[in-house]
Symmetry: C2
Subunit: 247 residues, 2 copies
């Protein structure tokens, strides 16, 4: 069943125009009686039935709340040092399917990609579109957002989180295995985790030091060396396994 993210708080009866209306009427050619999922920006998701649809609006009423909880109990933000090419697109698409709460892209010291303000704005729009499509497809109950930040802005974000981890290749090489498990054991439902991933060239010792001084902890993701775009998939999958399957 089609899924629409509505940028309003929950209402049991709702009149919709704009993009979702266009998709229902023009793309899907829906008529009165058809049912869809609506996801509101306060994470309430309902099954709703179309009662009226015309050229400008569609009216829907709630049939039932969506029963299954589909959001990870802890909110995980993925911070990625600008990777090359289309890798950020892959991180956002797959990361959204795997339950990421939000994405922050920042220019790492070893980042090859240099995006000016105009390019960033375009890329951000594109990435938010990808997140929305992936959220619809994977039946998310919250819509992840993608933003760009400087390294300084990223560090200022640290205090909003209950834990901050740095996925660090050297930790894997040295066999560091405990930090991720300990962090998951500590965090409880409703808390927030930020995980920082370097670009292809990794994070520099200076970046590591600055992040650690601001409270971040180094964390290994198993004994194999993961590419910059693969590491977030590991982190999110492990979180789902721990909080959603083992609990």
């Amino acid at each position: 069943m089609q899924r629409y993210f509505i940028d309003q708080p929950y209402q049991s009866a709702i009149k919709i125009s704009g993009e979702p209306h266009h998709h229902m009427s023009r793309v899907m050619r829906m008529t009165a009686g058809n049912e869809v999922f609506l996801v509101f920006n306060d994470q309430v998701a309902i099954k709703a039935k179309i009662t009226e649809i015309d050229n400008d609006h569609v009216l829907l009423v709630e049939v039932a709340k969506e029963a299954l909880q589909r959001e990870l109990p802890i909110a995980i933000t993925i911070a990625s040092g600008f990777p090359k090419g289309e890798k950020l697109e892959l991180i956002v698409q797959k990361g959204t399917e795997l339950g990421a709460s939000d994405f922050v892209a920042f220019p790492g010291e070893t980042s090859v990609a240099k995006w000016d303000a105009k390019k960033q704005q375009k890329k951000q729009q594109r990435l938010n579109k990808i997140a929305q499509e992936a959220a619809e497809q994977s039946h998310r109950q919250a819509l992840p957002t993608v933003c760009f930040a400087s390294a300084k802005e990223l560090i200022r974000l640290f205090e909003e989180y209950d834990a901050v981890l740095i996925a660090y290749e050297e930790s894997a090489k040295q066999g560091e295995q405990a930090q991720l498990v300990q962090t998951f054991q500590k965090l409880t439902a409703g808390q927030k985790l930020l995980v920082v991933f370097g670009p292809e060239g990794g994070l520099t010792p200076k970046e590591i030091e600055v992040f650690q001084t601001a409270g971040a902890k180094l964390c290994g993701l198993g004994p194999r060396i993961l590419r910059t775009e693969t590491a977030p998939f590991y982190l999110l999958s492990a979180a789902s396994f721990y909080y959603e399957l083992q609990r």
Copy 2:
């Protein structure tokens, strides 16, 4: 340090020609004294030093065994119903990084991709090359292989495994959460797990029934609906978290 997969059992002193020799001498322009990692086909990995290199051969001697165990304790084979486009390439690349033991591609009933024998052979070569590059990059100690099989051949493989799971979207929708954890709890080091993933259109009820009759169990991968190429990443990451970080 450069990593080479050698299709021979472990030897402490070795003379190499062919592809790895070419890469060391022509691509990397290595000379006597340079060090590399050699991974033998019995999963022994050593750091080795070049003692002689000429136009045809390179001689190496062992410096030390590689200390860190980099292979998952259980061997996991990923069986994918032919997906569209380049998705199999993505599954093999990321799946290798995440520790898959082997890959089997089979024509699912809903597979859109139809590959004839010639196309399959070409694709298989390409996929094995991708697996090798990913294995080198992620510091694997075993080289995953990719093969193509019919659905019947896939089912005949079941008996070689200690457990067979079917990643089934409907399990996720129904909130099935226990099977994966139970399977991991049951399997111990050295045992083999096969996990079957459908193509984009999913597995048909008939396919499910045939697989179940042959001993496979349905398994959910959390409450979000994962794309066909994302589900194997979840499975492998969860296995690494369980066997390599939590243990």
